[in-house]
């Protein structure tokens, strides 16, 4: 036994035991990672090279799905809608969360009540959010348009005019920024008070303190929330689907809706998989670009 240990110095008995238990305890995730991640991701790559309608076995067609998408006007419409949404919703959502947090981080009474009110919309079931806003924004008898009509003002076609739908969705999006706001609030409370005190002594006004202390100190968390918002924005499905099924005139036909339609309504599993892979690659490129740019605007305190 002693000889065996001396001959295999790589892992001692205790080390082997540690490795065994470590992997044993992590095994739910390890097995799940293979079952629900590696196998599906690889098969998705394969399906994206096939024509597959679930009824007949998949037929290998090479890059045809990708080539067809490259000359598909619907695809470019969907891509445009999605980029419009991502580029506007991520910064505006993060900005609204940040401003709410800054507002709450001042000397006010009933702070936790305000915080609770601002937070609540983000945890309400999406089906309820959709039902209520659909009712509220209805062109004929929604509360907002009824009020406008009573004031003899023109009605606003929030969800019935294609030019209004995306901005309407943006408004609802900015209303439900609770989690990002709470993360910002915790960050703001961690900014050392000495910084503000020193700046005040040096004669800095509140605006200058905000620009030169609050913003830089929060910039890592702004980056974190932006990355999360971009990834979520590319996958936006629930609200535009529940509000108008992507319409009217496909004005809210986003990437995830188009993918869902192809996969589960038209049963084009191959095309849907190709779409998923394009989405994946676009998200990676966007995230990498954001991190690259962050070197210029994110300030990290030295530990």
């Amino acid at each position: 036994m002693a000889v065996a240990v001396a001959k295999t110095p790589r892992l001692s008995r205790t080390r082997r035991r540690e490795l065994f238990y470590g992997i044993l305890f992590a095994s739910p995730w390890l097995i799940g990672f293979v079952l629900w991640m590696i196998i599906p991701v690889l098969s998705s790559a394969y399906y994206s090279l096939t024509r597959y309608d679930l009824l007949r076995p998949p037929v290998f067609i090479g890059l045809t799905n990708y080539v067809n998408l490259a000359s598909d006007n619907d695809f470019y419409l969907v891509l445009w809608n999605t980029l419009w949404w991502v580029v506007l919703s991520a910064p505006l959502g993060v900005a609204s969360a940040f401003l709410m947090a800054v507002l709450l981080n001042t000397k006010i009474i009933a702070r936790s009540t305000f915080r609770a009110i601002f937070f609540f919309p983000s945890i309400v079931p999406v089906i309820v959010v959709a039902s209520v806003w659909n009712f509220l924004l209805n062109i004929q008898f929604g509360a907002i348009n009824s009020t406008l009509r009573a004031l003899e003002l023109p009605a606003i076609p929030f969800l019935s005019n294609p030019a209004y739908t995306k901005p309407t969705l943006l408004m609802i999006h900015m209303w439900a920024q609770g989690s990002a706001m709470v993360i910002f609030l915790a960050t703001l409370q961690d900014v050392p008070r000495e910084l503000y005190e020193a700046a005040t002594i040096d004669g800095a006004g509140s605006w200058s303190r905000f620009w030169n202390i609050t913003l830089p100190m929060c910039s890592p968390v702004i980056l974190f929330n932006l990355v999360m918002a971009f990834i979520a924005g590319f996958q936006n499905f629930n609200l535009p689907w529940l509000l108008t099924q992507g319409g009217p005139n496909r004005s809210m036909e986003f990437f995830a809706i188009y993918l869902y339609r192809n996969a589960f309504i038209h049963l084009r599993m191959g095309k849907a998989s190709a779409l998923a892979w394009i989405l994946f690659i676009v998200i990676i490129l966007f995230t990498v670009a954001l991190f690259r740019s962050s070197a210029r605007w994110v300030y990290y305190r030295s530990e």
Partner: protein, 302 residues
């Protein structure tokens, strides 16, 4: 850090000398005006939902809108619940989906987080990094193959596709629990080891009791994710007797635009929406701290 010596929630400006100049008075008024205007905007949709739930058709379509239902039909809530088999949908949502998936998520995520934070083994940190990276993969990439696999296994129209994967750990909750487990002093585990406790004993008798608040947050979030989930049931559960509340409400909303929508359709839709929001409101009311601290935990130390 200086801020940590302050009680939580102390605004950073409190220590500054008080100004009573006209300018700061004005600033204060503007600040409260913005806060109150925002608060009203945020609450209005919920007020409109709950008040419309108590109207009848004649009050829904009046111009200008009637903000206070008169007369108020409290019975609408009960009547709306009877329009469809909502008892069954609530049963499906809670018993078939939310409870088992919450149980699976808490149990498996705690085990894995324990391994990633309090056990030392070669390859651990690489695997944890991979675990975090999986959160970046859009679910659409795995959606189609998973649907095909579950279909071949005969799992479509059951809750297995939504419940079984929850027993294999959730990257987000693993990360959250790992952050928490790391704050528990390692000496406690070492003392247990010297006393002859195995890893399972250490986890269940020492770590988990100390981590109750964090486990409660994970359970809360997992339950809420299932309760609020729309997309999962939309994909995997089609048969009406298997619907969740979310699917049933969507059907109710879709029926509104169909010809010959039934009487009180809008009030009933709002009534059911109010009922489905109520558990979330109650959870939030009683566990506000858990919500807020759980979310802060995930964002800060990332």
């Amino acid at each position: 850090m200086a801020a940590e010596t302050l009680p939580r929630g102390t605004p950073v400006e409190r220590s500054r000398p008080r100004h009573t100049s006209l300018g700061s008075m004005l600033g204060l008024i503007v600040r409260y005006a913005i806060l109150i205007a925002l608060a009203i905007t945020f609450l209005l949709p919920f007020y409109w939902m709950a008040s419309s739930a108590m109207k009848d058709d004649s009050q829904v379509y009046v111009v200008p809108p009637r903000w206070i239902p008169n007369p108020a039909y409290i019975g609408n809530f009960w009547a709306a619940w009877q329009v469809d088999n909502f008892n069954l949908y609530a049963f499906n949502t809670i018993v078939k989906y939310a409870i088992p998936s919450t149980f699976g998520t808490v149990l498996s995520s705690a085990l894995v987080a324990y391994s990633f934070s309090r056990m030392r083994w070669p390859g651990r940190d690489v695997l944890f990094a991979i675990c975090l990276a999986t959160m970046m993969i859009p679910f659409q990439v795995t959606l189609v193959p998973l649907f095909i696999i579950f279909k071949q296994m005969g799992w479509i129209n059951t809750y297995l596709p939504l419940v079984v994967p929850s027993f294999f750990g959730n990257a987000f909750f693993i990360f959250m629990l790992r952050q928490f487990f790391r704050t528990i002093p390692m000496e406690l585990s070492e003392a247990a080891r010297i006393d002859g406790a195995g890893e399972i004993q250490t986890l269940f008798q020492i770590i988990l009791p100390l981590a109750k608040p964090a486990l409660a947050v994970v359970a809360l979030f997992a339950f809420m994710n299932a309760w609020n989930d729309y997309f999962g049931p939309l994909i995997f559960v089609n048969a009406q007797d298997q619907w969740t509340l979310a699917l049933a409400i969507q059907r109710m909303g879709a029926a509104l635009s169909e010809v010959g929508a039934s009487r009180n359709a809008y009030p009933y839709l709002m009534a059911v929406s109010t009922i489905v929001t109520l558990p979330i409101l109650l959870l939030f009311f009683f566990a506000q701290r858990a919500f807020i601290e759980g979310i802060s935990l995930t964002g800060l130390k990332g």
